[in-house]
Point group: C2
């Protein structure tokens, strides 16, 4: 291992790749609308494959349309893979996902050009789908196929926003849903995912990049609180069982709980539906969500216990019925400590200022963690924005991110 | 005036009238679905007119379809009128409105039979529309016509839930919208409206009837609070401008404010619409209503000032934008003190226990107050329910209410 090599990344190449990739599904100026298996998606994966070939990587496409660019190592051992997803929100921007797929490709291109064949096999990866923007009932389609976590029949069962099934969408681009199991890999040692931060923490810290030591644990509570529907004028306050009053107290309470626990705890009440939702009627019920996240397993348990105790206490005190379930419940995904250390050292060796932080958003790395060691690299997001055409990361920051990525891969593979 | 006469009301007649009237638009057992100018409404008004004639009242129908049953007095002076509206919610029950129209008719029938011609003219009144259940942009159609408060062209402009105009609906039952101004009356001295309470106060007090000394003042605020839409995972709590947090604090605050002020202050947050309303997105905005009511003009001003100060303070402290307007703003309608005293004495003389209370709901009396002295009588509602097929008042309570009504009318007219 030669830690102190300096990695050179051409900013113009980086910008050209980003802008050219952004043309596939270009939407309203800086936006991109590129859902899995759409014509734009086909163009983008073809372009990715073409650039991999240009870089001297051996290109293969798997059964779900993930594109792999392989740089064969001279010694045995599992692959060290870097990439991210190439699909977007409806619309998203040029950076979420795509930047990580391009970063893996550019890093391998540069490493091959600068250092030749590695000892360990390196692979760049464009994952077919992560956002759930065409098929709401799933996401991580690409990384779930690689990790063997797609159930038989799922492609036929899965219905999209436009009524087609995932299986239909696959067949329309020449993929056979019956062959999904063939995408499974069991020879990956490490997965390194570069991604935009999607939050404002790096911007506020004045830093271009971060090494990610964990992906937060997420639970989505779906809560219904029910009281007694009544006339807004004729029913005195002291006799009401008002679910809006209970909801408001709970929403304030869970938000304040996460705020007081401090970073990185976050709790969001993003959705509320009031029945019957008339101005002059004390509501019958409020259905709402509580999205609560913490990357530390112990703190996460405390956060959830506080939320549940509050919900129960408020409902009981106010004579309201309450029920909930969690329809999303992801454990925290901890980065491999060895990989974290490797990429911290790589950043330091490149002279790039960085911090170590958890990810508050979900990523393909959570899936890959089932079959490989994982770590992520974050690049600063302007105003913390993502999932919008306005998302932006600067070329200098992106170049810094790819330098950390390439330097770390160099340390692992050469 | 002979205060201490005993009024006899036949419970079987009362029950028969209520049940027969409930057949016109009968819906799902105990419900009634009878919107203005519908075939069911025509049947109900025809029945009302027939019963008025049976009672020996002189029947007229005005330009909007209000039915009047007149018992001419022997002396000059404005009429003393008693009635309420005959239309219902979709569906409502058998009592809201209809009971007041029938009570006026039954009281006059009994007074005529028991005491003959009065000195002052008495009139029973079936008002054509109050609920706004067919034409959402208005209500009080009957009482607004009588008080000359329908603007020229309103019937043509007013669109119903089913796309027809009020003018079309009138023409379909043989009424000419151009003649609406002819319904105006300027010879009404007093309007006495019996109505179900629609709230639980009488039930909790264990009393059958109330004399109503005021109809509450109502203001509906339509409020929009706007923050910054962000990723629920990647954006730390301390950097958010979360309109849900602001909304929840305001909803709790305004509800608690009215509760602490005590009866009869009421404040309801009945409607809330979150944008974009996704579980994993800190919302962009919450649009909501605040319905705040108080029958005392001074206390009402204090209630509104507290609500507005709270909304402003929460928004400013949280860095949120807030704006509001009031799309409903009715001043309190105070009952005539002389009429209140007359009906209090009438109840006492009949040996009927009662309380004096304000109305938290709006009523035709608010309109009639522009041309006449007004007072209302409330009859106990089971569980405080109304605007539903489940609304119910017992025949003994209703008989007590009509006895108070008739005794008061006797005091005024004989």
């Amino acid at each position: 291992m030669a830690q102190d090599v300096q990695i050179h990344i051409d900013p113009e190449l980086v910008e050209r790749y980003i802008m050219e990739m952004g043309r596939f599904g270009a939407y309203a100026g800086t936006g991109v609308w590129r859902t899995v298996y759409s014509p734009e998606w086909v163009q983008a994966t073809d372009q990715y494959a073409a650039w991999c070939e240009e870089a001297g990587l051996a290109v293969t496409r798997d059964a779900v349309g993930n594109v792999w660019g392989r740089l064969q190592g001279s010694e045995p051992g599992g692959s060290i893979v870097s990439g991210s997803h190439i699909d977007t929100q409806r619309p998203g921007g040029r950076y979420d996902g795509t930047l990580g797929a391009l970063a893996g490709l550019i890093a391998l291109k540069v490493l091959k050009a600068q250092f030749g064949q590695p000892k360990r096999t390196l692979e760049a990866l464009s994952l077919c789908e992560e956002e759930g923007s065409r098929f709401p009932s799933t996401n991580f389609w690409g990384s779930r196929a690689i990790t063997g976590r797609i159930e038989p029949g799922a492609a036929e069962a899965m219905q999209g926003y436009d009524d087609e099934t995932m299986a239909d969408a696959m067949r329309a681009v020449g993929l056979d849903p019956a062959r999904i199991p063939e995408a499974k890999r069991d020879d990956i040692d490490s997965f390194v995912e570069l991604h935009i931060e999607q939050g404002p923490i790096l911007e506020h810290a004045g830093l271009p990049v971060a090494v990610v030591d964990a992906i937060t644990g997420i639970r989505h509570y779906n809560v219904t609180i029910t009281g007694e529907q009544n006339h807004a004028g004729a029913f005195p306050m002291d006799l009401r069982r008002d679910p809006m009053a209970g909801f408001a107290e709970i929403a304030s309470g869970v938000i304040n709980t996460a705020h007081r626990m401090g970073r990185p705890a976050v709790t969001t009440v993003g959705r509320a539906v009031v029945e019957p939702n008339y101005p002059a009627v004390v509501p019958h019920s409020v259905n709402f969500t509580v999205d609560a996240r913490h990357p530390d397993p112990g703190q996460r348990a405390i956060l959830y216990a506080r939320h549940e105790a509050l919900m129960q206490e408020v409902a009981e005190r106010r004579g309201l019925e309450i029920s909930w379930n969690h329809y999303v419940n992801h454990e925290p995904c901890l980065s491999d400590p060895g990989l974290v250390a490797t990429f911290q050292k790589a950043a330091a060796a490149q002279g790039i200022p960085f911090m170590t932080m958890p990810s508050g958003a979900g990523h393909d790395s959570q899936q890959m963690e089932h079959i490989a060691k994982v770590v992520m690299i974050f690049v600063r997001s302007k105003d913390g924005r993502s999932h919008t055409p306005e998302e932006f990361s600067s070329i200098p920051d992106i170049v810094d991110g790819i330098r950390v990525l390439a330097a770390g891969l160099h340390a692992l593979a050469y």
